[in-house]
Symmetry: C2
Subunit: 318 residues, 2 copies
């Protein structure tokens, strides 16, 4: 939620408009509950029930998926999964979902049913039934907006972006980069892992990787008022094999793909102390580095030197 996508275009004016709108939305918004700050992955739904959170994400044909290439089942799955990934980021247990669609008139009945099936099956996989929606059609490309509510388990706080402190340890729940080679079509949000990690390790902060490891970690840094030192050797050990394959096609490095590719939907997990080995293995946690007092992202290489890490496409996110 609230991260938005500027599409393929990524024009500067467009990015500025989106950033300004998000600032205005944050400024003008009456916060119903102080438990969750504006702009985290989910929002508090109801002051009477601070454990209940919700999120919405809209996906557009030609921007977030390409119906000419992707099957409608996968599109539906993805639309549900990106919302469930927001639940994972806050360690919220999914409760239910609504879906509003504007279907292109070019869709066949089978296309539409497959879309619905993808939405439904992904939701069921994560205990999140689709309980209603709004179905429309038009002559333009298909747009799908899913809203998911989730509940924080009793005894655990919601895990925010803003809880990291200098000295904390940064992990990722799995290797990242190169998801565009296929994984991005069928994301498996880390909902169950997040609930277990929250219960077992009481993380200081979490975020899901939707826009890229570097950008999403930057968001944790900004919200937490600190920075992060990534260890180059450890980072290289967290590069997905798809990032290596992609690098051989793009001429960029696998590390760049790991830092900058979006739609991995792994979680960045910030812990006050390294977890016990058994937990680290059980959750597939890969260490990346430490949080530091200095704002920004930095890469520390084997000789101990340290350079600012400015990912391509980086912008100040609000």
């Amino acid at each position: 939620m609230n991260t938005g996508r500027a599409g393929q275009a990524g024009r500067r004016g467009e990015r500025e408009l989106l950033a300004r709108l998000r600032r205005e939305l944050a400024r003008q918004t009456i916060q119903p509950a102080a438990a969750v700050p504006f702009g985290d992955d989910m929002a508090a739904l109801d002051p009477a029930d601070p454990r209940l959170l919700w999120t919405t994400d809209m996906l557009m044909d030609g921007v977030d998926f390409r119906s000419a290439e992707h099957g409608w089942f996968d599109v539906g799955w993805k639309c549900m999964a990106v919302n469930l990934s927001d639940c994972a980021a806050m360690a919220a247990r999914p409760v239910g979902a609504l879906c509003a669609v504007a279907l292109s008139n070019a869709l066949t009945m089978d296309d539409a049913l497959r879309l619905l099936q993808g939405l439904r099956e992904c939701g069921e996989q994560y205990g999140c039934p689709l309980v209603g929606g709004d179905t429309n059609s038009w002559d333009q490309p298909t747009v799908i907006a899913v809203t998911v509510a989730g509940r924080i388990d009793p005894g655990t706080p919601p895990v925010l972006r803003s809880g990291a402190r200098p000295g904390d340890w940064v992990y990722v729940t799995g290797p990242v980069g190169g998801s565009i080679l296929g994984r991005h079509l069928h994301p498996c949000p880390r909902v169950r892992e997040a609930l277990e990690i929250s219960r077992t390790l009481a993380p200081a902060a979490m975020i899901d990787i939707s826009d890229g490891l570097a950008i999403d970690l930057s968001r944790v840094c900004e919200e937490s008022g600190c920075g992060a030192d990534l260890d180059a050797t450890r980072l290289d050990a967290a590069v997905h094999e798809d990032a290596h394959r992609l690098a051989s096609q793009t001429g960029r490095t696998a590390r760049e793909h790991a830092l900058e590719d979006g739609e991995d939907f792994e979680l960045i997990v910030v812990l006050r102390a390294p977890p016990p080995d058994a937990d680290r293995k059980r959750f597939g946690l890969l260490p990346l580095g430490r949080m530091v007092a200095e704002a920004g992202l930095f890469l520390r290489v084997a000789d101990g030197s340290r350079a600012p890490l400015i990912p391509r496409g980086w912008e100040h996110f609000c």
Copy 2:
């Protein structure tokens, strides 16, 4: 929620697709709480909290509004208002809203801020803060999906579409028809009235008039397993002056406009007995007729004769 719009086109294939999808959604859906049946104006959000409901509505430029003619503030207002009208229909007190948008790249910053302002001001007017969202942009027409949660007040049940019985009395909260002459741009959902009516008169059924008095009353009939006899004289007394003005332009009758025009956002209120005069006046309730055992809508004229009422554009809604 769940009524959908087939746009200006209203093509048969398109309507069939939407109807089929709604049936599939209803069939495949796991109902989290029995309190509210699938396909009512709102859905139950969480089995743990059966008083909490939610709804979503998506509005598309060129279908539900025309950005070339309508101001963006009004568009924002309307997008929020149609969701709040669903709250009114179930006598739910709005709690908060999320908004996901795909903004056309043709929008200026001022346009986008006015849209946000309209959403926000309408929400505030009805005690429904905008607490988060998802902001995107693309090269296609603007799409806006608002999700609203609402809570049923303690001591009152949610008012369903399905509670009407033969012999019940049918009212509307205000004159209807001809909203396209201007009222449709700034709808005032009957949220406060609905809460008071629910508390005072314990209505058997309610629905908001989004698609037209006849179609929306048909939905109450279908869900309740009965029909309705409308009294022609009373119906004519509930025709809005805009319906008369519009009739002089369209060549149709004012009564037809009252029955068939959408976007009035008054409530149809079904009561077991006529309300006390003081309540009737206080809520602006206009009598229309009675519920009957025979399925369908009927018009009863002064001589006592009775004819089926098949509104133009009627279809079997699921």
